[in-house]
Symmetry: C2
Subunit: 505 residues, 2 copies
Amino acid sequence: MAETLKLRRVAIDTYRENVAYLHRDCGAYRSEGFQALSKVEVQRPGRDAPVLAVLNVVDDAAITAPDELGLSESAFRQIGAAEGAAVSVSHAEPPVSLGAVHRKIRGERLGSAEYDAIARDIAELRYSKVELSAFVVACAQAGMEREEVLSLTRAMVASGERLTWDGDLVADKHCIGGIPGNRTTLILTPIVAAHGTLIPKTSSRAITSPSGTADTMEVLARVDLTPERLRAIVAQEHGCLAWGGRARLAPADDVLITVERPLSLDSPGQMVASILAKKLAAGATHLLVDIPMGPTAKVRRRSEALRLRKLFEYVGDSLGMHLEVLLSDGTQPIGRGVGPVLECRDVLQVLRNDPQAPADLREKALLLAGRILEFDPRVRGGSGYALAQAILVSGQAAAKLEAIVAAQGRNPSTPALGRLRHEVPAPTDGVVTAIDNFQIARIARLAGAPMDQGAGVDLFRKLGDPVQQGEALYAIYAEFPADFRFARAMAGQASGYTIGDSLPV
Amino acid sequence: MAETLKLRRVAIDTYRENVAYLHRDCGAYRSEGFQALSKVEVQRPGRDAPVLAVLNVVDDAAITAPDELGLSESAFRQIGAAEGAAVSVSHAEPPVSLGAVHRKIRGERLGSAEYDAIARDIAELRYSKVELSAFVVACAQAGMEREEVLSLTRAMVASGERLTWDGDLVADKHCIGGIPGNRTTLILTPIVAAHGTLIPKTSSRAITSPSGTADTMEVLARVDLTPERLRAIVAQEHGCLAWGGRARLAPADDVLITVERPLSLDSPGQMVASILAKKLAAGATHLLVDIPMGPTAKVRRRSEALRLRKLFEYVGDSLGMHLEVLLSDGTQPIGRGVGPVLECRDVLQVLRNDPQAPADLREKALLLAGRILEFDPRVRGGSGYALAQAILVSGQAAAKLEAIVAAQGRNPSTPALGRLRHEVPAPTDGVVTAIDNFQIARIARLAGAPMDQGAGVDLFRKLGDPVQQGEALYAIYAEFPADFRFARAMAGQASGYTIGDSLPV
């Protein structure tokens, strides 16, 4: 009979890694014996499915007493028992699929059964961060053959739930990211839905960027909706703009991201599998992928963009999706605002046909919307752009966004811009010759976006614009003094702008 | 002026990873904004050298209050301030040397300056476990050229302190590990010291094995000694048997091990750099490396052993060490006992010329001691073994161990064997045809070794021994009921013994 301990919730959010806390003087188990072996299995006697967790040893009974076993938030949720429940602890074997990770480290090619096992174990939080990191690095270094990318994509889809929609044409759009302010989705979704094509848009929140589609939409309406609610909204409006996190779509991907981001590792194989798994699980049949190119974009060279396009096409075709790839201009941020409230302002200006609306955002949204409209067999090839423009100019797109906002639940209060404001001046006379996407995103993020909806960066000058010394290039908005200080310090180190004599031709 | 929080020690041992705890409702900093970016810098205003830590978000003011910043044990020690001291938090840049890790992931060869920066950052706990894992996997997968192994070795030595000894001949010995019961060091060190050759043996404690030299020596004497005390003992006795942890020798290695072990990654390059860095830092001029070979040893094939030998020789020679490699029999455990008290019994039987002493342990210790004695230019080539035997048989070796024990501080109480005992019987009549080193080590470890000194496994049968059904193959000793249960369950799953008709010739 196994010795039991009393379960305790330790209110520490360990960011999707299960951690168990055992007191050093625990009477039933030798905490130090477990620690070097790294992982433990925690089980409720008589139940299946133990929870795997990394072990931390505690010397403070206020956190975990000697007769208790503490679990971090994610692990506590996973075990699904009340505090005080009896649990037993044992030594964990490494997840079986780790053998396949070792083979990948040795440079071997893995098969679909191996990727299935890896994705399942990852989705069930059986991998520690050290093990996740080993998998991600091994795939990045040895590279993945395209059959492997296909296997990983299928495995990630199988690791979670799938949404289904009525109809043969379910449109979706995805940008590989990296360009601040690039909120075309909030414009093209109402255009496409107004045309009558289904576009049930589920997006993630920003992880390391200053705002994602879901964050910006949240300025206007609720985005955290159940799959049932989404279905009702899409049946009525043909479109929605929701956060996908509720639906458990390709959950293995959400776990992998927790190590890919800190490592800044975004290898082509992992990127394609991650994007296509999410879209397939979300029920998309037709997908437009936007790959921005530029010196500070994720993809810097045309050859690289073309290789990535082929990989998207191969995996998309093999999965039976209609997939098109657009290579777009990623040399600078799109629009003016960076951060939820500021981006929302830009989007509404475009939808309302405001003469002040940023032309680049409007143009790109129309281009993408036109391509998506052409997924509809009734739309003649080449006429999508004009159709999108007509829907926008007529006010139908604005009305559709209003309807979607009302259906999702309008935000009762309009979030304001951050109270703290700082302008970053041009150091000299000249012309803006470069804007560093990464640096602008970083400054907006440090300022508090997207957690503070009103935080961010508002750009006054774009590529090719003339500036005079001392004129403001952009303003930083923040709510928290610490964030304001971080963002100003970063902008002081490097503004992200290069001022020269003239744009290179 | 940066907002400050009150420093708090959070009594959680996170196993050599710095963790900072910030309350979700912290008034000065947005915890969620920091978390996805993964690392924070914690600083005492006006001091240099911030501490880098991974961030966990806390929802319980009893662990960390909103106006506090909690640090895990290692991070708290590193910042070196009292609880309540004012600290500020900022976003951490990834350690600069991580750029080199990314280049290694891309398959590039790194230079010595890059390894220096990596080892320094690792020793200063600037890498998270995710980053450590990326480095270790990248080196294992791309492999390291021998120049790189040399650079990493030098860098690891430079990351810590170095011991120096008087005299031109400072002997040392290292086994790459993996063979339970292999405690030759406790026999050969007194033999070599009795001859008059300096052998200041510093060893690590077992990490995932059931006992290391330091653990077994600790049954008899103190092993936790300051470098000053070591120096005095070696001056008097020519040898010591101490734990090396106090001396901060190649500390980067101790940090890397915290991810290598859970990943079971022990690539040749990392292994050679790790061993030679420790030995060089410990002041060795002459080193004998023991590479056991066998189907369940770390090295399974002769070709692999030879490649490893060349790598040891290349790096050792380049570092100006006199290095010799011995390929030994690693087909089964050495001696009978596995675990500190049991291994100590075997060692003392050999030193006391007890007729019951395990012959294989005696023989291997004499072989190694003979080779080390021949490092002395006055000892004629080929005569080392006989000299070692003479020192052992005469009782000089036993007397020397007694003298070293007395100098280090004799253990006032003799630890006893574990109270719980279970015999594992032979399932059938026959001959022992295989013993799985890994499984025997695992059973002894689960039984509580080395934390419980009296826990472990006592082997009654070795390769080639005839057995009858029901006869005990070995006994398991444990102190804790939970450990006893884990070890018995593991032995029940697989005893580690294969019984057949006869040994293959």
